[in-house]
Amino acid sequence: MTLAAAFFYLFAAITVASAFKVISAKNPVHAVLYLILAFFNAAGLFVLLGAEFLAMILVVVYVGAVAVLFLFVVMMLDVDFAQLRAGFMKNATLGFTVGMIVLAEIVFFVATQFLKPGALPAGLVRAAPIPQGITNTEALGRVLYTKYVYFFQGAGLILLVAMIGAIVLTLRHKPNVRRQNISEQNARTKSTAMDVIKVPSGGYNIPDKAAAKVAAE
């Protein structure tokens, strides 16, 4: 238990710290790397909670796919963060104040609700049940397509919309760009690929002027 607590604080601290670095790093590549670090630590937190499936998914999907994609994009786009931040800094003081107020309020509510013994009415807080005897994956699999099929399909629809959106907003058919069309290549036959052109016989027919030039050289 104490070990778990120690790791919780470790992961949590690193998560918060790296999240802070994500927004404060000067180099965008560093920011994405910190983001990856935050994801890893969040995965660690999931493991501590006994949700190893989620931890793995987080690493595989977010770190392996999303964050790496981010990294590519950031590297290729060459975003000037300093310029973006110029306007942002104008409101820094006020922003800091507002942020501090919200933070203070959250701390206040944590203080009153958690740290005071008996502050929370009994029965109000319920821990999520950890499935016994089966693996995380199996537990999720049992409910994902039955009890939560509605949510699952809804999430699928969101992804569909995202896909359509990405295509509709970015795909451009430029008429003068030649693309490889594999099915077209595979569908080639002799008749479509070859044209027999009759070339009239009778030697080269060099115009006089050009011929004179050749002769002079």
Binding site: L124, R126, L157, V161, A162, L169
Partner: protein, 495 residues
């Protein structure tokens, strides 16, 4: 019909929209990409919407819940879904002409609109924090794309991006709130949350209150209530006008229904707490909507502020938190939908040979150059200003009545004052059209009003003018029917 389809009966309209969207998507993807094709697909999408509407209207009521109570179908859901489907269809009807002229007519428009509408229907029926979030995202994501749909236009792209970024922020807050609520109630289902919220001392549970606040902020963003409205004018102005027409009506109604259901069903037990927030949002929206609109010169921006103000008026009904208040909300939403579509149909017809125009000053002398269009706009503006006996008056009347009955006198008084101030800028448009002189010259004339736009205008005028007059349809006027239906719908929410 297979048994599983029968069991899913309350979900049929959503299923029709989703399956229709997919079929049209495939059809469009495998057919040559021409404008004619896109036009046909938008007609087909309207057909899909109509089918969904018919199925919805025939769906028997009852206390229908699906998927462990995360989807709920009741009279309230049916009423708002009907509004959403009609306004989506109206917005879709208005799109192709403008899209063809703006060179952004693509079949994906109709598909995205169908998916967005499906998301809205799911929002209206959402009875669980997860379905709330998923449906909201489904709708929002489709709308972000639609806002940026005219991708070669910088303003449209900018609008889409702004909407997306701020929408993501609001979604983050909403999720934060949802996780707090889950943490402090141990449930995501609204009815389970309600059970906790009804316990004694729930109002002192500051964690629950924090969750509630963040949840409300996320939803307030969607209905563009002040101070979470900032995106509205920019997005309305930048997005293609048919998209703006869609934004102004259907998503607002859906998000409002969602907000109402969350407040009444899930958090009915801590009403005094959220009531204060709603009152604050309401007053801020009404006042800012009225005051800021006065300075606008762009018609679409003006209508954006108008929609902010109108959402403030609708919030008055929710603030009352009584069946009468919700009834007022529903009546208001129905009338507002008609007026918005009518007004945007006119804005869509503000097109000269050189291209579309959006300034109020461009409307000068419209009464002489195009009396029909001017009359439509005038009726819509008078109705939005809340002048009896036009439809717009009744929405205001019922929400203020409910506020007074709930002893929210100050709110009702501020509302009346705000609507008087608001009347100023609505009527200013009428004055511009009827008093100012038109610029001469053929190049300053608007192009002919297309059939689809004029149909929407005519219908909107008819409903706005005659809808609430004592003009017997079969038994009572359209207005009577709307009021009776809204009343039943509102009561179904209070169970």
């Amino acid at each position: 019909m297979p048994r599983y389809l029968v069991e899913l009966a309350p979900l049929h309209s959503e299923l029709i929209l989703i399956i229709g969207a997919m079929v049209l998507l495939l059809w469009g993807a495998f057919r040559p990409e021409t404008e004619r094709q896109a036009d046909i697909i938008s007609w087909a999408a309207i057909g899909v919407l109509a089918l969904a509407g018919i199925v919805l209207a025939r769906q028997p009521l009852g206390n229908n819940t699906l998927f462990d109570g995360s989807f709920r179908f009741d009279a309230f859901a049916r009423y708002v879904k009907m509004i959403v489907i009609i306004s989506s269809a109206g917005a879709l009807l208005l799109a192709p002409n403008d899209a063809r002229r703006g060179k952004y007519l693509k079949f994906e428009y109709a598909v995205l609109l169908l998916l967005a509408t499906a998301g809205m229907l799911m929002m209206i029926s959402a009875n669980d924090l997860i379905s709330l979030y998923l449906s909201l995202e489904l709708q929002s994501l489709a709308l972000y794309v639609l806002a940026a749909f005219k991708r070669d236009d910088v303003r449209s792209s900018e609008a889409g991006l702004k909407y997306f970024v701020l929408g993501a922020l609001s979604s983050g807050m909403l999720l934060y709130g949802a996780s707090l609520v889950y943490g402090f109630t141990g449930a995501t289902n609204f009815n389970d949350i309600a059970a906790v919220a009804l316990t004694k001392g729930a109002g002192q549970n500051i964690g629950l209150i924090f969750g509630l606040v963040f949840l409300m902020v996320g939803l307030a963003f969607k209905i563009s209530a002040v101070p979470f409205h900032m995106w509205t004018p920019d997005v309305y102005e930048g997005a293609p006008t048919p998209v703006t027409a869609l934004f102004a009506a259907a998503p607002k109604a859906a998000a409002f229904a969602l907000l109402t259901r969350v407040m009444i069903t899930a958090f009915g037990g801590i009403k005094p707490q959220w009531q204060q927030i709603i009152i604050f949002l309401s007053i801020a929206s009404m006042v800012l909507g009225a005051v800021a609109a006065i300075g606008q010169t762009n018609v679409k921006r003006l209508l954006a502020y108008s929609s902010i103000g109108n959402m403030g008026f609708v919030l008055v009904g929710l603030a009352a938190a009584s069946p009468e208040g919700i009834e007022g909300v529903l009546i208001y939403l129905a009338t507002y939908l008609v007026m918005t579509l009518g007004a945007f149909a006119v804005v869509l017809c503000m097109r000269r040979r050189s291209g579309p125009v959006e300034e109020i000053a461009d409307l000068a002398g419209l009464a002489t150059t195009n009396p029909g269009m001017a009359a439509t706009m005038a009726i819509m503006m008078f109705s939005l200003a809340g002048i009896p006996p036009l439809a717009g008056f009744w929405g205001k009347y019922y929400v203020f009545l409910a506020a007074v009955k709930a002893d929210l006198w100050p709110l009702a008084i501020i509302g009346v004052v705000a609507s008087v101030v608001g009347a100023f800028y609505y009527i200013r448009i009428v004055i511009v059209m009827y008093v100012n002189d038109a610029k001469s010259g053929a190049e300053n004339r608007f192009m002919r009003v297309p059939l689809r736009e004029s149909t929407v205008m005519a219908l909107a005028c008819l409903i706005t003018l005659l809808g609430f007059l004592p003009f017997p349809l079969r038994n009572g006027s359209l207005g009577d029917w709307i009021i009776a239906t809204a009343s039943a719908a509102a009561r179904s929410l209070f169970g």
